[in-house]
């Protein structure tokens, strides 16, 4: 985990001013910012897979080990995607339309990388046990949801 995390850190904190400029220019000519579209798509895939597990946890659908494992594996895979291209500076909600991402994501003291790391750890733990039964899956889903909420707490604007 340490290598991807440091990569993300380097990305978010420092570089990529050039691609940022390029993407911003692109967005200005095409409306929606591609970085925003990409990260919103990422979160939709995450929500879809959490939903598969969440509906089982709520008792709305029957627990199925193979299905639960597939969803957990997807979440783990999502947590391992290098984030650099969809979190370019200048794509916060004060700079552009169409996003609820707060400038605090890019500011000093931002905890987003630590929280994303907790999502990754939670997803890994979930993938370990998702196929072992409803109760272990439900328990392991908790920290994953908590990581989502931790980020939404301080880094996503109210609608």
């Amino acid at each position: 985990m340490s290598l991807p995390k440091s990569l993300i850190a380097a990305t978010l904190m420092g570089g990529l001013a050039l691609s940022s400029l390029a993407l911003t220019a692109h967005a200005e000519s095409h409306g929606q910012n591609p970085a925003v579209t990409a990260r919103q798509g990422q979160f939709q895939i995450m929500a879809l897979n959490i939903g598969v597990l969440g509906q089982m946890a709520r008792g709305n659908t029957d627990y199925d080990a193979e299905t639960a494992q597939a969803a957990a594996n997807n979440l783990l895979t999502m947590s391992q995607i290098d984030q650099r291209f969809h979190w370019v500076p200048g794509t916060d909600n004060e700079s552009i339309e169409g996003t609820r991402a707060l400038p605090a994501i890019w500011e000093e003291g931002s905890q987003v990388i630590a929280i994303w790391g907790r999502f990754g750890e939670g997803a890994a733990a979930l993938a370990e046990v998702a196929g072992d039964g409803l109760d272990p899956m439900r328990t392991a889903l908790g920290p994953v949801g908590a990581a989502c909420g931790d980020c939404h707490d301080d880094y996503r604007a109210e609608e």
Binding site: F43, A47, L48, I50, G51, G54, A57, R58, R100, L102, G145, C148, G149, C151, H152, D153, R156, A157, E158, E159
Partner: protein, 299 residues
């Protein structure tokens, strides 16, 4: 001319004394509450429904730390910044040496043991509707929590809002002893109304406010600008919130919307409270929300 001046002085004196009488703190007496015996075990559910920890625990506290009610969280508003005080059982900095009558006076009349008006950032406006037995149980439960010796921080409120006595006038204008939602409710809906209006004080964030900061009962739970100044707190009326009752109840337990987005902001803390209630209580809140007058029929 002299008679006119005298009349004006007389009228001013009457006005001032009427104001002084209207704004005087109203205390609940020991005699009034002598029959109430608090049950700490029963008080835990009142504690979670009332949302005490969301403001009086440390910011971002989780787990056991949400039971340490040392205060300190800041709440920005149009009138200044309010800071939640220490309500832990510490006798010096908290409420450890309060009587039940003093506690009820604070919770239902918004008056401190010293006779000072609290600002309505503290939702005594809602707790006023609560059952006194429930509040006695809550008081007993609060006494079982860890003491914090953290001193309460002063509010940062400028003139003229720094005149506490003026809150008495605000109370005359805005304190109500009736529920907002009326009419024939099922037992479940009525339970949900009690939880939502008297304890969980949902209206404090989800209802827009007027010029003096009072919630607008004609636009009850119609959604409002976030008090943090950024974004909007969503409407909860059935024409705006199109989730099923089961989806609302589940959200209040696990924090996931019907599309499995995760709740953020202050609502997360609310969910952390409500998740401790019986499932029937969360279902009751959902049932109550289904009975709200639609936002599009507002006058």
């Amino acid at each position: 001319m002299r008679r006119l001046v005298r009349a004006i002085i007389l009228l001013a004196a009457i006005g001032a004394s009427a104001g002084w009488v209207l704004t005087r703190p109203v205390h609940i007496t020991d005699d009034e509450v002598a029959a109430l015996i608090g049950d700490a075990a029963a008080g835990e559910a009142v504690f979670w429904a009332g949302g005490c920890a969301s403001c009086h625990a440390a910011e971002d506290a989780s787990g056991e730390a949400r039971l340490v009610l040392g205060g300190g969280q800041a709440f920005p508003s149009d009138f200044g910044t309010f800071r939640a005080p220490n309500i832990s059982p510490d006798p010096r900095h908290g409420i450890g040496d309060w009587s039940l009558a003093q506690f009820l006076t604070a919770m239902q009349n918004g008056i401190s043991p010293q006779g000072q008006h609290y600002y309505p950032a503290f939702p005594y406006t809602a707790y006023r509707l609560a059952d006194r037995q429930d509040l006695a149980d809550l008081f007993a439960f609060l006494q079982t929590l860890p003491a914090s010796d953290q001193a309460s921080l002063p509010h940062d409120v400028g003139f003229p809002f720094s005149i506490r006595r003026a809150v008495g006038l605000w109370n005359v204008l805005y304190l109500r002893d009736e529920y907002v939602v009326t009419g024939d409710l099922t037992e479940e809906e009525a339970r949900g109304r009690y939880l939502s209006e008297a304890l969980a004080h949902c209206g404090e964030c989800h209802t827009p406010r007027g010029v003096l900061g009072a919630v607008d009962r004609n636009r009850w739970l119609h959604g409002a600008p976030a008090l943090t100044g950024r974004g909007t707190i969503p409407a909860l009326t059935p024409d705006e919130l199109d989730w099923s009752a089961d989806e609302i109840a589940a959200y209040l337990n696990d924090g996931f919307t019907p599309t499995f987005d995760a709740a953020g902001g202050h609502m997360r803390s609310v969910i952390a409270n409500l998740a401790n209630l019986d499932a029937a209580d969360r279902a009751a809140i959902a049932a109550y929300l289904g009975r709200l007058p639609p936002a599009d029929t507002a006058p």
